[in-house]
Amino acid sequence: MSESPQNFDPDSIVEQVLGGEKDRFRLLVREYGLLVRGYLAARVYHLEDAEDLAQEAFLVAFSKLSTYEIGTNFRAWLLSIAKFQLNNHWRKTSRRANAMDRFRHDIAEAVQPEMQKASDELKQENVRRLLDCISKLPDRTRHLIRAGLDGIRMESLAEELNLKPNAIYQLRHRAHLTLRKCMEQRTPES
C-alpha cells in the first residue's frame, strides 16, 4: 500500500479499518479533513458550525464505512455525507433564520449545481498545496484573506487599507484566483 500524497489509496485504508485497524481511519481524516472542513466552511456562516459538522461527517463516515463500495470514489462518498449533514443543519437553523440568512439560502440554492462543480474541480492534490500557496502570498494579501478569521469586519479592514468595502471583496477574489492558479500550476511537479 502506498500512501504518499500522490498515491493515496483510500480504498486500501478503508479495508484496513474494516479489518479492525480502526486507528487507520486517522489517515483518512488527515487526507480529507481540510477538504471536508473547507466544503462546509464555504457553506456555513459560522466557522465553529462548519467544524462541528465536519466532525459529524467523519463520525458518520466511520460508523457507516461498511456501506462504502470499494472501487468507487471515497472522496465523493465522504462529501455526500458532509452534504447530508449540511442539509440537516440548514433544516434545523432555517426556523430561526432572519431575512439575510434567507437570502444566503436563496443564493445557495441558485448556485447549488455550480457549487458542486466548483467543489469537484478542487483536486485533492491541489488542496494539499493550499497552505504552501497561502504562505507565498504577500503579507497584506494574507491579512486580507484571513481578516474574517481574526474577527475583523470588512468595513474595518476597508478603512485600514483605505479601500472601499467592495474593493476588499474584489481583492480577495483576486487573491483566491492567485491561490487557485498557484495550486494548479504546481500540479506537474507533484
Binding site: D23, A42, A110, T141, Y169, R174
Partner: protein, 540 residues
C-alpha cells in the same frame, strides 16, 4: 483575471454571502434574477465561495475532534508502522520549491503554521505516549550525516549538527523550530529547549505560549510570537520577529518584555545591548557623504523644537502635533508658505540618495537633536531635475509614515501610510496596490498619476518622514512608460529606485543587500539603473 471582479452584482453577492451585507428587497430580487439568468456569474460565485471556504478552514487551525478521537480509540492501538508512514507523508508534503524559501521569514512563519497544523492534525490531541518523544524532526538538510531513520526527538536529548539546517515540530505545543548549524541544543521537554550554540527560529502557535529557550545568559519566554535566538561563546542574541517575549535572567532576575522588531545582545558578563528596533529587521542603509556637489539634490531635515508641547500620552494629541501636519500649508501653497517653520529645528543639510529601506536612525545620523521625537521628523528635498528621457513617468512606492512628491509644485505622488496626514488631508490621487508587498505590511504600495516630462528641467519637491517616534521605512520607485521591466514572483515590475545620482560603491552594495532582503523575505524588489538617473540641473 476574472471578468467578474469588477461586476457590482458579483461583489454585492459576495458581501451578502460573507458578511450578511444589508440589501434592499429590490436589490436582492435583482441579484437573484441575475443569478438565475447568468451561468457564468453563478460559476464565478460558486468558485469564489468554495475557495473562500477552503482558505478559511486552512487558516483556522486544526480543530480538536474529541468525539471522533474517542470513537477511534487510544493511539496505542495504532498499527506499528503508523508513525513511519506519517513521517513519510510529512516529508512528501514539503515540496522542493517550498524549501528554497527556507529563510524567508514571513514565509517561514506560514511554513511554521502549516507544519504546526499538519502536526496537530497528525496528533489529534496528544494521543501518542510521551515516551515516543517530545518533537518530530521534519527536515534535516546539508548535514554530513544522512537523515536519521528514527525521526523522533526525545526529552533531554542533545541535538547536534555541525552544519546545514534542521526543522522540527514540538509534539504538544505545536512549536515549530528551524535551526542552522553549527547547532547544539538540548530538548528539555515539550515546552523548553536549552540552546548552547547556534541559531534557532521559533514560530509559536497559541497553544505553545510560554515556550522557553534557555541560554547560558538568559531565559527567553515566548508570549505568542516568532523569534530568533542565537547562542555562541561570546553570549546570546535575540531578535523578535512578531509578538512579544519576556527575557529573564538566569538567576531569577525580573523579566523584561521585548516587542516586535527588538533585538538585543547579552554577553557572559551580564551586560545587555539593545541593538536595533525596526519594523521587520530590515537593513538600514548607512548615510553616504552629505557633501554637496552641483549634481546633488539638496534637502533639509526638520523636527519640532523639544519642549514645544507639554508631555502627553494621548494618541490623538500626539498625532495632531506631528511635524508632518505643519507641512500641509506648505504643500497647498505650492511650496511657498513656510509660516509654520518658525517652531522647527533643523539637522545637517541633506543630499538625496534615494528612499529605500528603514530610516530609524536617520534623525540621529543627520544630527537632528534635540527635537521632539514624539512629533516625528520630515526631510524636504527640493531642486530642478532633468529626466533621463522625455516622456511619461509615474512614481511607485510607500512609506511608513509619510511620502510625497510634487512636480512643478503640484503633488503627483503620495505614498504615505493609510492613517497619515498627507493621505487624509491632501487627498492626492493615488492608486493602491495591496497585492504588492511592503517592507512594513501596513504601509501600502501606491502609484501616482502619470506626468509628462520634456527636455527642460522640472522642479521637484520630495517629502519623506515620520509622524511620531522613529520607526520609519519607505521605498520610492519611478516608472518610465515606454520601458518594460523584469517582474517579481508577484508580478511587480522591478522599477528602478528614483535617484538623482548613481550610488557610490558602498551604497550600491548596501542597496543590493536590501534588495536581496526584500526578495527573500517579502518577495518584493527594485532595481538600480544608470539609465534612470535624473540629473540635477546646474541652476538648481
Amino acid at each position: 483575471m476574472s471578468n467578474h471582479d469588477k461586476d457590482p452584482d458579483f461583489l454585492d453577492l459576495l458581501a451578502a454571502w460573507h458578511e450578511n451585507k444589508t440589501l434592499s428587497p429590490t436589490r436582492k430580487k435583482e441579484l437573484l434574477e441575475r443569478l438565475e439568468k447568468d451561468e457564468n456569474l453563478r460559476l464565478a460565485l460558486a468558485r469564489e465561495i468554495e475557495m473562500a471556504g477552503l482558505t478559511r478552514a486552512a487558516q483556522a487551525g486544526e480543530p480538536r475532534w474529541l468525539e471522533l478521537e474517542e470513537k477511534l480509540g487510544a493511539q496505542n492501538e495504532t498499527s506499528p508502522d503508523f508513525e513511519s508512514e506519517v513521517m513519510k507523508r510529512l516529508q512528501e508534503n514539503l515540496p522542493e520549491n517550498q524549501r528554497k524559501n527556507i529563510f524567508n521569514f514571513p514565509n517561514l512563519a506560514w511554513l511554521g503554521i502549516a507544519a504546526a497544523l499538519i502536526f496537530a492534525f497528525l496528533n489529534l490531541s496528544n494521543q501518542e505516549p510521551l515516551e515516543q518523544g517530545v518533537a518530530k524532526l521534519i527536515r534535516l538538510e546539508g548535514t554530513a550525516k544522512p537523515m536519521e531513520k528514527e525521526r523522533i526527538l526525545r526529552k533531554d536529548e542533545e541535538f547536534v549538527i555541525e552544519e546545514g539546517l534542521v526543522e522540527m515540530a514540538f509534539r504538544e505545543t505545536g512549536v515549530h523550530l528551524i535551526g542552522t548549524g553549527p547547532l547544539k541544543m538540548t530538548l528539555l521537554g515539550n515546552d523548553r529547549v536549552f540552546l548552547k550554540e547556534g541559531e534557532i527560529k521559533l514560530v509559536v502557535p497559541p497553544q505553545g505560549i510560554g515556550f522557553v529557550v534557555d541560554t547560558l545568559e538568559r531565559k527567553f519566554v515566548d508570549l505568542g510570537t516568532s523569534f530568533v535566538v542565537q547562542a555562541s561563546k561570546e553570549g546570546s542574541k535575540v531578535l523578535v520577529l512578531e509578538g512579544e517575549i519576556a527575557v529573564g535572567g538566569r538567576n531569577d532576575k525580573p523579566s523584561q518584555l521585548m516587542g516586535k522588531g527588538s533585538a538585543a545582545d547579552f554577553d557572559r558578563n551580564g551586560s545587555v545591548n539593545l541593538r536595533s528596533r525596526g519594523p521587520s529587521g530590515v537593513p538600514e542603509l548607512s548615510l553616504p557623504s552629505m557633501t554637496h556637489s552641483e549634481n546633488s539634490l539638496a534637502g533639509k531635515i526638520y523636527g519640532i523644537k523639544e519642549g514645544t508641547f507639554p508631555v502627553t500620552t494621548e494618541k490623538e494629541k500626539i498625532k495632531k502635533r506631528a511635524i508632518v501636519r505643519n507641512f500641509i500649508p506648505l504643500i497647498r501653497s505650492g511650496f511657498k508658505n513656510q509660516a509654520r517653520f518658525k517652531n522647527f529645528v533643523q539637522g545637517r543639510p541633506l543630499r538625496f540618495t534615494g528612499i529605500a529601506g528603514t530610516y530609524d536612525n536617520f534623525p540621529l545620523r543627520t544630527s537632528l537633536a534635540p527635537y521632539s521625537v514624539e512629533s516625528g521628523w520630515l526631510a524636504w528635498y527640493s531642486g530642478k531635475v532633468k529626466a533621463p528621457k522625455t516622456g511619461r513617468y509615474r512614481f511607485w512606492g510607500y512609506a511608513d509614515n509619510n511620502l510625497l512628491v510634487a512636480i512643478d509644485r503640484k503633488p503627483v505622488f503620495e505614498g504615505s501610510r493609510y492613517d497619515s496626514h498627507f493621505q487624509n488631508e491632501l487627498k492626492v490621487p493615488r492608486k493602491n496596490h495591496p497585492f504588492l508587498p511592503c517592507l512594513n505590511a501596513r504601509a501600502g504600495f501606491a502609484s501616482g498619476k502619470w506626468f509628462e516630462v520634456g527636455d527642460e528641467p522640472i522642479r521637484i519637491d520630495l517629502l519623506f518622514g515620520e509622524t511620531s517616534m522613529t520607526m520609519t521605512s519607505g521605498l520610492l520607485l519611478i516608472e518610465y512608460q515606454k520601458d518594460s521591466y523584469e517582474k517579481t514572483y508577484w508580478g511587480q515590475p522591478k522599477w528602478p529606485l528614483f535617484l538623482t545620482e548613481f550610488p557610490q560603491e558602498k551604497q550600491l552594495a548596501e542597496l543590493d543587500v536590501l534588495r536581496i532582503h526584500m526578495e527573500e523575505k517579502i518577495q518584493g524588489s527594485f532595481s538600480v539603473s544608470q539609465d534612470s538617473i535624473w540629473q540635477v540641473a546646474s541652476d538648481s
